[in-house]
């Protein structure tokens, strides 16, 4: 082979972007592994699962009784259908490269179809004949709220280069301080003060984020340690405030934000209520996710934030004040965590309990990584967790059984965690995190 020939080969392999280039060469790429997984699942569904499930007609209801709109089906048929879809996905995974786009879409569709699949299996195994799926969707979205917000907090911090393991603490402190101010100022019963309290919660989140910024940016202390400090501090502070301020004050329960519906739209059938009727912080979450995407990827400031997370020294040589940008991004993230905190103590319920965020901040971190540090990906991750939690309690209610053995709701509740591990492990050696994350930055002098 002549030099020119080598030349061409190198050029080709060099310019193909990472995904295809890497997998094209490897013996089994990510897509192929996914394909094998789909094939195995498909066969299991068709051969093992479908025959063992009752063929009694079951239905998904889309509205509340009486006389709900519903979709009736025989569980084995639906399961076989999904199984066939999975087999198709498996075939697509091994198709020539030019069909990659289609294979990707098919895989996404297959992944989404896991939702009706699980529901169908669960219904088939339970004694009930119908379950309301819009409700389930609604619950999933609501439960995804703090996780999605927390993931946006993480996104803002980490995209700017600061690891934030203190999301949990920021949320918890905001929940506590937010409710405390409501109890003190508005006796937990005035609507106007409720909104002030939400604002206080948001500011509290910002304040703790400022602490993270000072510790990790100015003092250059390890960012993971700084996060741990914030979590510990929030736990102590809120416990202290609850027992010293909230409880003595006597207003430990009260109002919370109320539902509102978009006129007309909320009366649309099926999804109207789910999408157009809800509580304000829940709605704000969608706005936060959308705005995060818009600002981060479409504005000059967002570009600068991302540059600080990727290569702060390059940013510095272009006259960008890395430290200021990081401060701004971290504090914005803190405000968002504050909203999540407010969701806990002022929207989801009115009141504050010790450790009421219950690891949502850590789950948000997982959702962020699940979503590869992108707003929509992280949102999808949050939805997965929300759905799993909603499903967990739904299945507890339905009492799913296999051979007289009840499937514990814990099984479904732990699913998203297992899925996250599989996803993170499956992202084989692809460094997708912002490159400069966790590295202290010093100005040149």
């Amino acid at each position: 082979m002549t030099g020119a020939g080598v030349d061409e080969v190198a050029e080709q392999t060099g310019t193909v972007t990472s995904d295809v280039g890497a997998t094209g060469r490897r013996r089994l790429g990510r897509r192929q592994i996914t394909g094998v997984l789909f094939a195995v699942l498909g066969v299991i569904l068709i051969v093992a699962v479908a025959p063992s499930i009752t063929s009694e007609t079951k239905s998904f209801a889309f509205e509340s009784p009486p006389d709900p709109l519903q979709f009736s089906f025989s569980p084995p048929t639906l399961i076989v259908a999904v199984g066939v879809l999975y087999l198709l996905s498996a075939v697509a995974a091994f198709s020539p490269q030019r069909f990659d786009g289609w294979a990707g879409r098919l895989h996404l569709f297959s992944a989404i179809s896991a939702v009706p699949l699980i529901m169908a299996i669960a219904l088939g195994l339970s004694g009930s004949s119908s379950t309301n799926v819009t409700n389930l969707l609604d619950e999933s979205l609501v439960l995804a709220t703090p996780v999605a917000l927390g993931a946006m907090t993480g996104l803002w911090c980490e995209r700017s280069g600061i690891i934030n393991i203190g999301i949990e603490g920021m949320m918890l402190a905001s929940a506590g301080v937010g409710f405390m101010s409501f109890a003190l100022l508005g006796a937990a019963s005035s609507v106007a003060w409720l909104w002030v309290a939400v604002l206080v919660a948001i500011l509290t989140g910002g304040l703790l984020a400022l602490l993270l910024a000072v510790l990790s940016i100015n003092f250059g202390i390890n960012q993971i340690v700084a996060g741990v400090v914030i979590n510990l501090f929030a736990l102590g502070l809120t416990g202290f405030l609850r027992s010293e301020v909230i409880v003595p004050n006597g207003n430990s329960k009260g109002l919370s934000t109320t539902e509102f519906g978009v006129p007309l739209l909320s009366r649309l059938p099926i999804l109207g209520e789910t999408l157009f009727q809800g509580k304000p912080i829940h709605y704000a979450m969608y706005a936060v996710v959308g705005l995060t995407w818009l600002v981060m990827f479409r504005t000059a400031w967002g570009l600068r934030v991302r540059s600080c997370g990727e290569n702060p020294h390059a940013a510095e040589t272009l006259g960008i004040d890395v430290i200021t940008v990081r401060y701004q991004a971290v504090v914005v993230g803190g405000f968002i965590a504050g909203m999540a905190g407010a969701w806990f103590s002022l929207e989801s319920q009115s009141g504050f309990e010790d450790n009421m965020t219950n690891s949502a901040g850590f789950i948000a971190l997982a959702a962020l990584i699940f979503g590869k540090w992108t707003p929509w990906g992280a949102f999808a991750g949050a939805l997965l967790f929300g759905f799993a939690r909603a499903l967990g309690s739904r299945l507890q209610f339905l009492q799913v059984e296999i051979g007289g053995f009840g499937i514990p709701s814990e099984f479904f509740q732990s699913l998203p965690f297992v899925v996250t591990i599989v996803v993170v492990a499956g992202a084989l050696g692809r460094s997708i995190a912002p490159a400069a994350e966790g590295q202290p930055f010093r100005r040149s002098k």
């Binding site: 980490e158 690891i163 393991i165 510790l215 003092f219 202390i221 390890n222 993971i224 340690v225 700084a226 741990v228 400090v229 979590n231 510990l232 501090f233 736990l235 102590g236 502070l237 809120t238 416990g239 202290f240 609850r242 027992s243 010293e244 301020v245 690891s359 850590f362 789950i363 971190l365 997982a366 990584i369 053995f405 009840g406 514990p408 814990e410 099984f411 509740q413 732990s414 965690f417 297992v418 996250t420 591990i421 993170v424 492990a425 499956g426 992202a427 084989l428 050696g429 460094s431 997708i432 995190a433 994350e437 966790g438 590295q439």
Partner: protein, 374 residues
Amino acid sequence: MGESDSLQGKIVKAWSVQPVLVPLYAILLSFIVGGVLIAIIGVNPFEAYWALVRGMVGSPDRVAASIARSVPFVGSALALALAFRAGLFNIGAEGQLLVGGILAAWVGTFSFLADAPGLVAIPTVLIAGAFGGLVWGGVPGVLRARTGAHEVISTIMLNSVALFIVRWIVNSRDPVILRDTAASVPRTEQIADGAVLPQLVDSEPNLHFGLFVMIAVAVVLAFVIARTTFGFEVITVGTNPNAARYAGINVNRIIVSSMALSGAFAGVAAASEVSGTNQFFQPGTFAFIGFDGIAIALLARANPVAILPAALLWGSLLAGAPLMQQEADVSIDVVRIIQAMVLLFVAADAIVRYLFRVRDQGGRHIDATNAGWV
């Protein structure tokens, strides 16, 4: 100002307290912060602290209780410390404690242990606990080594999974798995008498032989890190994995073995609690022990011997707090705030050095955690 001239300098010289100067000042500073907070709610901080101190060391029983509270923290902090040394961040001690604990509690009810002598039964239970933690810590290690999945994520996930599993195992009534159906709260059955660790002081909580187990583990780990080839390999991987690979060290093996061993420490701690304190397993018992282990290990800068006093501080503050609440009517959560402050000031030692004019000795700072996500 020459350091040797000042009073501080003299003390430093005479007692060679330089290495602990920063932590000592950090603790002092944290109590000042806590005191301000107590004063704000209208309580005399000195009274509150006096009650706290008496709660910690006011009587032999209180001392024993303080030590007893500290024992499990030693295990979880050692778990963190070993992982830190290997450049890994094991947030999963919480889950490893749960899995180790439930396994120990289960093995402890095996019928053959009922008649076995303590010399057989106790190690069996402890090893069962260690094995549970070993598996639960080893999995993220394998994932990290084989696929690059960051251990922070996988351990956080496994914490939740472990919690769901043990909850189910302990709570489930239909079918009954390990639940003691006779008990009013969800818990496992009592372990065999022979498998119970010898008791030392009947304080609240009781002090048991687990104390010596934990001290022994700490000393052994200190020796392993400082003097053995395995310790050298672990630290080399933690400090510069590329150089470790170049030097012929099997980096993946070290990652897996330090995570597994780290989990085993947590597992032993859980087993010693199951066997020494409650004699049964209850999921809530281990809440926060793993997370506090992070703070304690950081406070001790991942030094196994320094973990002993750090854990003692942690445990005795928690043990003393209820008396402060009782007598001075100050929420026990003040202690949590003080703990956070201690960690803060130790980590951000620049603050302490500035306030107290402590010189930085430089020297071999081994940064416990250096990893980002990838």
